[in-house]
């Protein structure tokens, strides 16, 4: 029998606010344990939460960009459970009446376009971090770091609209791009600012009803999401193949063993005893505010891609690569302000600049070359001042330097030799050194032009203008 996977994703994105959701502690990643805490976020007796307005603003941006319907009135609820890294004994989240309902994301996977619907988007606070293990003062104890407690999160829940790990990855990648465009989240999966849980079930192809699902947690990279989903789909198919039934449960992805392991069954599931948090008032969002946020939204990836195709006449592929990140697109457009050669810029970014970005794993603006420097290199090539090859050499030289391209050319003597008298002198030297080849050329072996040009280029360390050398050799030997 042929099976089809059904996947829904729950994504937690850490909102890029300076301070926490209910207190004024900083949210910076990587500080010493428990240094970014106060009575409010460590759950001292008597403290009260006060909502950070920027959390709402960031969520509004995301929800509106994801075509979701903003709820005029939404409320926070308490999700009650006991764990040492949850200091109040409850997490403040949204349950009934979240800030957004519905929405969708357009994805493309294996050439197919698809609309993935969203169920809801809501705001909540993060819990702290429990640290177990031997490299601590007392290996038998567990430690708790509450720096992360109260860091704002936005949870985006999709409908079960995906049917393969590729679609799930495309969804996640698109979501990440949009959130980064909006600057509402860093979406760094490794630092935990983007986390993803998946609900997975299988059914016979063509079947309409949903099968029993499992929830897979702990997939902390894009690669792991793909691997975990493929593993879990395969596990379920094998399970059914053996005549067993799928058990509704939560499973953890084991990054060492590359398998999912059962964590708890439905019967063991927590009863979170959700109820409206009496310490917080309802969030009421008026029309004027929604309009204000709408007007503040930047151009989104799909629209930008279309514009790059029409405005710059770039191929679809180039436009896709350049708009995959807002920074790439910004870098491209900034370079364009210095030189009107979109395709050359695109080629240089895609081949040279992104190579450095991938090697270093850095932002395009940290790759070591500015849009102005890149534009200057392209200009020199276009004006015939340097060859493409010298251009690449120049690119390497300029990396990490603040100097103007002109300065580097002067320092390294990289400017192309286009002075015909200078070139004629070099050519006559070459002719003298290679009488045999000159003889053969004169006897009709015209293909030896290439050899002679090569010798001139070698003598000038590539700086000779190849076009002029060609012409001059024909003239001298003609």
């Amino acid at each position: 029998m042929e099976y089809e996977a059904v996947i829904g994703l729950e994504v937690h994105a850490q909102l890029a606010t300076k301070t926490k959701i209910f207190c004024s502690c900083p949210t910076k990643f990587g500080a010493d344990a428990n240094t970014q805490t106060c009575p409010v976020c460590i759950g001292m007796p008597g403290v009260l939460p006060v909502l950070n307005k920027n959390v709402v603003i960031n969520t509004l941006k995301a929800g509106l960009a994801l075509n979701s319907e903003v709820q005029v009135r939404s409320i926070f609820a308490r999700k009650n459970y006991f764990y040492p890294d949850l200091p109040k004994g409850y997490q403040i989240s949204q349950y009934e009446l979240p800030i957004f309902l519905g929405g969708y994301i357009d994805i493309e996977s294996e050439g197919e376009k698809k609309k993935i619907r969203l169920t809801r988007i809501h705001m909540e606070e993060d819990a702290g971090k429990s640290i177990h293990g031997a490299n601590l003062n007392d290996p038998a104890s567990s430690y708790v770091d509450l720096n992360r407690t109260g860091v704002p999160l936005m949870e985006i829940v999709s409908e079960p609209d995906m049917n393969s790990s590729d679609e799930a990855k495309a969804y996640l990648s698109k979501l990440k791009t949009i959130l980064q465009y909006l600057k509402v989240s860093d979406c760094n999966m490794e630092e935990g600012s983007l986390r993803c849980d998946a609900n997975i079930s299988i059914r016979s192809k063509g079947e309409k009803t949903l099968g029993v699902k499992t929830e897979v947690k702990n997939m902390n990279s894009f690669k792991n999401v793909g691997k975990a989903l493929d593993y879990e789909i395969e596990r379920q198919i094998k399970c059914v193949g053996r005549g067993e039934r799928i058990v509704q449960e939560t499973r953890l992805w084991d990054t060492e063993k590359n398998i999912t392991l059962s964590m708890r069954s439905k019967e063991e599931a927590h009863d979170y005893r959700y109820f409206p948090d009496p310490d917080l008032v309802p969030i009421v969002i008026d029309k004027a505010w929604i309009e204000e946020i709408k007007n503040s939204l930047p151009e989104l990836p799909d629209a930008k891609k279309e514009r790059f195709i029409t405005k710059y006449s770039l191929p679809i592929y180039d436009s896709e690569v350049l708009t995959a990140s807002k920074e790439y697109a910004d870098f491209f457009e900034e370079t364009f302000t210095y030189i009107n050669s979109p395709k050359s810029i695109s080629n240089w970014i895609m081949s040279e600049v992104l190579r450095i970005v991938n090697e270093k794993g850095c932002s395009i603006y940290k790759a070591g070359i500015s849009p102005e420097q890149l534009a200057d290199i392209i200009k020199l090539i276009k004006n015939g001042k340097i060859s493409g090859k010298i251009g690449k050499q120049l690119f390497q030289e300029i990396l990490g330097s603040d100097k103007k391209v002109e300065e580097i050319i002067k320092e390294k003597g990289l400017i192309q030799i286009s002075d015909s008298s200078e070139l004629e002198q070099i050519i006559s030297d070459v002719i003298q050194k290679h009488p045999l080849e000159v003889e053969r050329y004169r006897n009709g072996e015209k293909k030896l032009t290439g050899f002679l040009v090569g010798q001139v280029m070698k003598a000038t360390k590539g700086k000779a203008n190849p076009k002029m050398v060609n012409q001059l050799i024909s003239k001298c030997l003609g």
């Binding site: 007796p45 008597g46 308490r78 009650n80 006991f82 200091p87 959700y274 310490d279």
Partner: protein, 486 residues
């Protein structure tokens, strides 16, 4: 000194008739003399005398001093005080020393008050007799075999015994007004949102409110000017600035309409109490008020609704006392074991009972039938008040169905204990303001309390009516004979 008002104390201090040190010593002496019997304090602030001496030095130098510099006050032990233990009357917080101040504590310090100490209470404010405290059973100054009421029993008893000129308590279902009535002092529950809850250890967040105990209404108005302010740290704090609590105290209540809800005067109310209320109303009428009969048809559901909502919120609010971060921790084989032992041995019976009730009410499958239903009925009770206040300015009722009862009398019967608050609970569900003022004594010479209820942020009207009554009577000036020796 026994009936001295705050404004008179302020005058004496600024006139240097008395020094701040002398004032603190005066109350220390009374505490040392009488509190071993009354047991109202859990802890004393060891730096009170130093603070007083600092104020005296400043005054001697002619430095500018805040308006209440040197006036002693004491707080119910669930109002957070930096560097002073805050126990909530519980073993689980026995050695807890907070690193921060509640907003009210800060207001008091800024205004120059000296915090004398922390007052006994039912554990986590759960109780109506002060008997569920882990530390002591506070006694009623009028009869030390009887309870002072609760949960703010220590706050009421200390003021009644004049161990402190005024104190703060908190009222979730009557915890200021009921002990106020049983001890014969003035107790105000301000409108929900009037006084910041930041630093008030939560029992039931949608009902809790801090309020003062005083010996007279003027002092109540005066302390409200200090604590009744908007606070950005409390999202439920109202953005209404200070009323002119003091300047509105004219004592003129001509034309004021006072509602009498028949639901509060059922057959079971004892005659002595009933008659004292009617006598009080006659006095109000003489002052020009008009008495109007009103209906509050959903009153009978208030106690049931309260015990679902308050316990549900409490079950969540008290989850943080888990032995992990602060307070008491019991040993355990593993995490779960530690949790179970800490909570089982750290909380008292009544607290555990309410956590279990609340957990049950919020549980999946029961939520709709209990919590959600209770919220709906709460709305009906609110509506009773809203329509009543369209007809009348204030509502008059008894504060408590009985006068002070004997220690142990109701402790083993939670339902009997819960019924102590039948007249006070509805107001908390509505969220308005209410006050209990002394209105006489029963045959056993136990104080009787008159409760006046007002609409949202109607403190000025409420206090003015109480003031008019107080000027026409002298019940509030009575002090138990055995405590008269200074």
């Amino acid at each position: 000194m026994l009936n001295i008002k705050i404004k008179e104390l302020r005058q004496k201090l600024s006139d240097k008739d008395i020094s701040a040190v002398e004032l603190i010593k005066y109350y220390h002496n009374r505490i040392n003399r009488y509190d071993p019997e009354i047991k109202s304090f859990i802890s004393l602030n060891e730096t009170a005398l130093e603070e007083a001496s600092l104020i005296d030095q400043k005054r001697a130098k002619g430095d500018h001093l805040p308006p209440f510099a040197g006036i002693p006050i004491a707080l119910k032990d669930l109002i957070i005080t930096k560097n002073i233990p805050t126990t909530c009357g519980s073993k689980i917080l026995e050695h807890f020393i907070p690193p921060y101040d509640a907003t009210v504590t800060k207001h008091l310090k800024d205004a120059g008050f000296i915090i004398m100490g922390k007052l006994n209470m039912d554990e986590f404010a759960m109780g109506s007799s002060c008997e569920t405290s882990y530390f002591n059973k506070t006694r009623n100054p009028w009869d030390t075999n009887r309870v002072p009421g609760g949960s703010s029993g220590g706050s009421a008893a200390a003021v009644a015994a004049r161990l402190i000129p005024l104190s703060l308590g908190s009222d979730t279902g009557g915890s200021i007004r009921q002990p106020g009535a049983l001890c014969g002092v003035v107790g105000l529950k301000p409108t929900y949102g009037r006084v910041s809850r930041y630093g008030l250890v939560a029992f039931a967040s949608s009902l809790d409110q801090i309020g003062p105990f005083t010996t007279n209404v003027e002092d109540t108005a005066e302390i409200m000017t200090v604590i009744g302010k908007h606070d950005d740290k409390d999202s439920t704090s109202a953005k209404i600035d200070n009323d002119n609590y003091m300047s509105d105290l004219s004592g003129n209540i001509k034309g004021l309409k006072i509602g009498l809800p028949k639901e509060y005067f059922s057959e079971s109310l004892n005659d002595e109490l009933k008659n004292s209320i009617f006598d009080a109303l006659k006095i109000m009428e003489k002052c020009g008020a008009e008495i109007v009969d009103i209906d509050m048809p959903h009153t009978e559901y208030a106690v049931a609704v309260y015990y679902i909502i308050a316990t549900a919120e409490a079950s969540s609010n008290l989850a943080r006392y888990d032995g992990v971060k602060y307070g008491y921790r019991a040993d355990g084989k593993n995490l779960n074991d530690m949790y179970v032992h800490t909570k089982s041995s750290g909380f008292g019976e009544e607290v555990k009972r309410r956590i279990m009730l609340g957990t049950y009410a919020l549980s999946s499958g029961y939520y709709d039938a209990y919590y959600l239903k209770a919220q709906k009925v709460r709305t009906l009770i609110k509506n009773d008040f809203i329509s009543a206040f369209k007809k009348v300015d204030l509502i008059a009722t008894p504060t408590s169905p009985t006068t002070a009862f004997k220690l142990g009398e109701k402790l083993k019967d939670p339902l009997q204990m819960y019924l102590n608050d039948i007249y006070t609970i509805p107001l908390n569900l509505y969220g308005g303001c209410g006050i209990s003022i002394p209105c006489g004594f029963d045959k056993k010479m136990l104080p009787l309390g008159l409760q006046l209820l007002g609409g949202y942020f109607e403190e000025s009207k409420l206090l003015n009516c109480a003031y008019a009554f107080e000027r026409a009577t002298d019940w509030h000036t009575k002090v138990p004979d055995w405590l008269e020796k200074e």
